[in-house]
């Protein structure tokens, strides 16, 4: 059995050096500010880019988390908030990467235009464990809707996270754990 390497602590925003130092299969713990966005918010972000309008936050060095959380119970920062399936964002992702987006957290395979844009921009794709939403919510310290509030669960939120657990699944060189992992166990 392959051993899990040490857990690398990373702080947002991500620098080029930090991104280049991450390899597919690395376990990480992410702290700092990350932004949530999923289907409907991505559509609006890319529309804003093509209109030449300002984005609700500066993408430079940032990580977007693909999530639509449950409502927070009283006294909690956020409701359960596990990753959603990433490929639905693939039509929009290259444009965001070309504007400075440095990392994405989600689950599941990406398509080639995304991995090419990641290599071009030295960006990293992380996976969190899908369906572990209650546990993941424990590492979110603050959550604030900063744009598209009308989208409800799909609004853009600014999260402050502490030791958010994730795995580097596609690194800035394009090495893909979703390919090499299953190959090792295929019979």
């Amino acid at each position: 059995m392959a051993e899990i390497r040490e857990i690398k602590k990373i702080q947002t925003p991500l620098t080029d050096d930090a991104a280049n130092g991450l390899k597919a299969g690395d376990m990480v713990s992410i702290s700092g500010v990350i932004y949530t966005a999923r289907d409907a918010a991505h559509k609006r972000l890319v529309q804003a880019l093509s209109d030449g309008a300002a984005l609700p936050f500066d993408l430079e060095g940032q990580i977007i988390y693909y999530v639509g959380p449950c409502p927070a119970k009283p006294g909690q920062a956020i409701g359960p908030c596990g990753p959603t399936t990433s490929f639905r964002m693939d039509a929009y992702t290259p444009a965001l990467l070309d504007c400075g987006l440095k990392g994405m957290i989600g689950k599941g395979q990406r398509t080639e235009p995304v991995t090419l844009a990641m290599r071009r921009n030295r960006a990293v794709y992380f996976a969190a464990v899908g369906g572990a939403a209650a546990v993941i919510s424990k590492c979110v310290r603050e959550a604030e809707v900063i744009a598209f509030g009308d989208l409800g669960p799909e609004a853009i939120r600014r999260l402050v996270v502490e030791d958010f657990p994730a795995i580097v699944v596609i690194d800035a060189d394009g090495t893909d754990q979703y390919k090499i992992g299953p190959e090792a166990y295929r019979k």
Partner: protein
């Protein structure tokens, strides 16, 4: 004849929404524990570990297991000697969903229109309701909250008879392989075979309402379930698609008679958070 007041249906559906969202069925949980012990990959073990922690956390704090609390799919077996009083049956179910999703701090995930404005209805209604009239005077209500990540990976094919058993098996394996990590493996694979185009999709969905890991009562289909489970787990996809031995917890096949020209097959995948709750009135 038994009278069942519509408000009781609403209260029951509300309770089912909460129970299903917070508390995984015992059968799914024990199957997860059993399969976790068989996982060899480090990432697979890590995923199982997170999944188990999440089950405990959700139950103890009454939090949703998954943020995608799903489309509320309700299966109603209505005894023919039941008379529903004091309200409309479907509206009673929708109201139960409305209340349950609000009270439980569950995510509202339904768009009122699929193509144009895609505006969230704000209360997770409408539910999807499947009714069946059965003998007796009981009303069985089953709730399968179905997340979008796994539902999006479902597929249906109108195969022809010459495709045979091999064609159906190949379609099932292809579906699981194409899905990869997207449907949150380890999954439960619901397979419908036979019937018509509409019926086969519902069969695949109904297969997910079977107690997890329970075998088809027909020994020929039970043998296929065991064989296909082994084949699915030989793909190496593993928990969360990161590589490993346990891609699926179970394969459930349901079948119906079909037309001489047809061999329909549908695959409906459920994530490891295979939520389900039911009540009998």
């Amino acid at each position: 004849m038994k009278e069942i007041p519509a408000p009781l249906i609403t209260d029951t559906v509300e309770q089912l929404c909460l129970k299903a969202a917070f508390d995984l069925p015992a059968g799914v949980e024990s199957l997860l524990r059993e399969k976790a012990a068989q996982e060899e990959s480090a990432f697979g073990q890590y995923a199982f570990d997170q999944i188990m922690k999440n089950i405990d956390c959700a139950r103890s704090e009454q939090l949703a297991l998954c943020q995608d609390t799903g489309t509320a799919i309700v299966f109603a077996e209505v005894g023919q000697d039941v008379h529903i009083t004091g309200g409309d049956f479907s509206e009673a179910v929708h109201e139960g969903v409305r209340r349950g999703y609000e009270r439980g701090y569950l995510r509202k995930s339904i768009c009122g229109d699929p193509l144009f404005d895609r505006k969230n209805t704000g209360d997770n209604t409408p539910a999807v309701i499947h009714c069946e009239i059965v003998p007796g005077d009981a009303l069985r209500l089953s709730l399968l909250p179905k997340g979008g990540g796994s539902e999006n990976m479902g597929r249906l094919a109108m195969l022809v008879p010459s495709a045979g058993l091999a064609g159906v098996k190949a379609f099932v394996l292809e579906t699981v392989t194409l899905a990869g990590g997207n449907p949150c493996p380890p999954v439960i694979v619901g397979v419908g075979v036979g019937g018509t185009m509409d019926q086969v999709a519902l069969l695949a969905k109904r297969a997910l309402t079977r107690s997890a890991g329970g075998a088809n009562p027909d020994p020929r289909y039970a043998a296929l379930e065991a064989e296909w489970l082994a084949a699915v787990n030989a793909t190496g996809i593993g928990p969360q698609g990161l590589g490993g031995r346990v891609t699926a917890l179970a394969v459930h096949i349901e079948y119906r008679p079909t037309h001489i020209t047809q061999l329909p097959v549908a695959v409906c995948l459920n994530c490891h958070a295979a939520r389900f709750a039911e009540a009998v009135l």
